[in-house]
Subunit: 459 residues, 2 copies
């Protein structure tokens, strides 16, 4: 009999009641967002047309270390949280590794991923402010589903701009969003200036996250009582997602464990930033020295091959500029890229930490990702989302190193969600029709050449 | 703040280590299964060609009240059990009912349903006996997925005969089964006598559960080291599924609660029989007097409109005969029936209890089921399987009665699984293209006329 349980759910008195704001402990803060008109540092007020006030405040707050999670948010968290910390006994056995592998499983909710943690917060604050509409974009559909659930719970109408390629390939994702009362529009669409412009130039345009963001933001700023919400990249999102790391750390403390290495998949950084937050605090404060590994797709390698530069968060160039690792806001991953993690940039917080040497990054081809996913599913019985499987791959690599060295390291990784809506990709992997794509340096240079020129800051 | 938590996970020391065998407490037992050749009561040995020995024994055992759950099974249960008992605060609020509504949520595993509870047991015993192959059938795909997970865990090759209509409509279900290493064959197929016979008469035959069972059983009895496993109806399945009711009862005891009424969806009876088992024990022993309500589809109304008679468990008439409520083994629900719960018969245990007045039953049209499902999803944030939504409908009806009478009854229902693979049906509901079908008495008479004639027993 195993002494440590497979799954640990925190008891009620250990469930976090505050989020942790990593920036409060960063001696060197990320460079400020810039107003896209003036190129001056954006103020909280600059953000009011786009975000509701409480969220604009959280976006700019780099001093408050702990922020109370409002009662209304904690009530909805209780519908699916705490999420379990799982000891991957079967995976350890399969690998024959002396390492102890833990994962924080965020997939046990209908949205199927960790995205719900921030969706609830953003819908709640919008409702508090008396807003009557929200807009957002979604790519693979996890974020759109999560936000539709949250908006349905708080009774706020939601419009989701869904990347057209996904809209067509994933009709079931649309259907779930609609079941929760959300309105879904394929992007690019004729409902916005940004969309019409793109369609005029290319009527067959299949969309991108950057374009969908442009459309959602435009609709938000031109509609009375409406704001925009985003599921990743932003400081506020990492703040909300810190609940993942806080719960993980509390659970590991109950087991008398502490990770030697924390592994997460990296797209815009929402899960990774949330998972590592309290452990990174220990590192920043010199209390512990864990390693952090970001795992990203080889076909969308913002950390490992991007530039650390100011860039727009959207393709239409209407959002503020952020200093981040980016492939250029016009970058689109190859159509053969199956999973999520397809955003051109990376959370400014994570970009800064990576730039300053607090975090490592690696990239992996998708066939290797699905190999890890399938192996994991068979031994741990959870069908992972392709996104999450990047972290599985990274954790397996760490566990294999332990096998070589004989070290019994403690590995923690984030299992962000489930793959029920990704069976087309699983099928192409099983049928041997999945291929890998790694952009050439020349491919990437196209995006870098279009990075914005900012007088005195970025020439 | 709510005093009772939304979700209660049993602590480790309260997790059941034994299954409960309801038949040990039934004064009037179900009539015995009959050997299909001799029409004599089937013996344990008669079942050996079809089921592995331990399961054949469980099938016939009507005296052992509690049966130890082997360590190997409990180890795999730990990967997803205990499942939570949830207080449906939001549903109560939405309905404005004084009733307290609880549900046992069995969907938090990759198979997406309670089916995994019995799949693990059946794969385990097959492995113990040294079997080298298993066969089964699947309709909607929940059972096939569950068994593929279990077989992958215990390293036993699996062949799944999947009803052809589902095979074509649900390619993602196939893909999951394949991801877990299962082989999927569309039924009727040319791999069996039974399949070839049906295809010769009707090459376009889209299959039925009964036909898929015939094919799976035939393959099992004609292949060395191979046995057949079934996900519902059988006594052994209800035994394994008693873990649902045992956990529910233990959790309710922790909350100082006891259900006035227990509601479950009813197809073959696997969930309903497991959920009610320990509460039915109390009723049989005179310790308590809860009501039990089975909710079945109006398009496949075995309990509410079927005959209590001996019938074959499969369309090909090669299985033993069981005394049960049945629509006739040739019955196929209308093609417009979207969800599962499409088996022609009902668990002999539940049939007997219903016949003897220990249980009630109701039927419901599918548009009403999806209405309840959508409402539930929006307030409780879980997207239910259409099967499970029958129980939701039944629970809501009970809660509405409480609203009328002002009684604060305690309602427990089984939320058996999630609907991620049923989005086609949800979409047709939202688009208004879903219709209801209630068979006429004449429709049903066709099946009744074909019930087997058994000299001296059923003329």
């Amino acid at each position: 009999m195993a002494k440590i349980p497979y799954r640990l759910y925190l008891p009620e008195d250990k469930i976090p009641t505050q989020w942790y704001n990593l920036r409060a402990d960063m001696k060197d803060l990320p460079d400020p967002m810039l107003n896209p008109q003036t190129f001056k540092p954006a103020t909280e007020e600059d953000l009011y047309p786009v975000f509701c006030k409480a969220l604009a405040h959280q976006e700019m707050d780099d001093t408050t270390r702990y922020i109370d999670i409002p009662e209304g948010i904690r009530e909805m968290y209780k519908l699916f949280r705490p999420s379990p910390l799982v000891r991957a006994y079967n995976l350890e056995k399969e690998l024959g590794t002396p390492a102890k592998i833990y994962y924080k499983f965020e997939g046990n909710n209908t949205s199927g991923s960790h995205k719900l943690n921030s969706a609830i917060a953003q819908a709640y604050y919008a409702k508090e402010q008396g807003l009557t509409n929200l807009t957002t974009e979604t790519g693979a559909g996890q974020w759109g589903t999560a936000l539709a659930e949250a908006c349905s719970y708080f009774h706020i109408p939601l419009t989701v701009y869904m990347v057209k390629a996904s809209y067509l390939q994933k009709p079931f994702r649309q259907a779930i969003i609609r079941t929760f009362g959300g309105k879904v529009i394929a992007s690019p669409s004729d409902t916005t200036e940004a969309g019409r412009k793109i369609l005029a130039a290319d009527p067959e345009n299949s969309g991108s996250l950057g374009t969908a963001i442009s459309e959602a933001v435009e609709t938000a700023v031109t509609t009375e009582g409406c704001r925009y919400v985003l599921g990743s990249v932003l400081n506020q999102v990492l703040l909300h997602q810190s609940v993942i790391g806080l719960e993980s750390k509390a659970a590991m403390e109950m087991l008398d464990e502490y990770p030697d290495v924390v592994v997460g998949c990296a797209g815009g950084g929402s899960n990774l930033g949330g998972l590592i937050a309290p452990f990174m605090q220990d590192k920043l404060l010199g209390k512990a020295n864990p390693r952090f590994v970001a795992v990203e797709p080889a076909s969308c390698p913002s950390l490992t091959r991007g530039k650390y530069a100011y860039d727009f968060c959207d393709t239409g160039k209407i959002t503020p500029l952020a200093k981040m690792y980016t492939l250029g806001c016009s970058f689109k991953p190859s159509p053969n890229h199956a999973g999520g993690l397809r955003y051109h940039g990376m959370s400014p917080i994570l970009s800064k930490l990576y730039h300053d040497g607090y975090m490592e990054a690696m990239s992996v081809e998708q066939t290797k990702v699905f190999e890890a996913a399938t192996m994991f599913a068979r031994v741990e019985t959870i069908l992972p989302a392709p996104e999450s499987a990047h972290a599985i791959y990274g954790a397996i690599e760490e566990a294999k190193k332990c096998k070589e060295t004989g070290e019994a390291k403690t590995i923690l990784f984030g299992l962000t969600g489930t793959g029920y809506f990704d069976m087309t990709a699983y099928t192409s992997f099983m049928d041997g029709t999945m291929s890998d794509y790694i952009p050439t340096d020349e491919d990437l240079q196209v995006g870098f050449d279009k990075l914005p020129k900012i007088p005195g800051i970025q020439e």
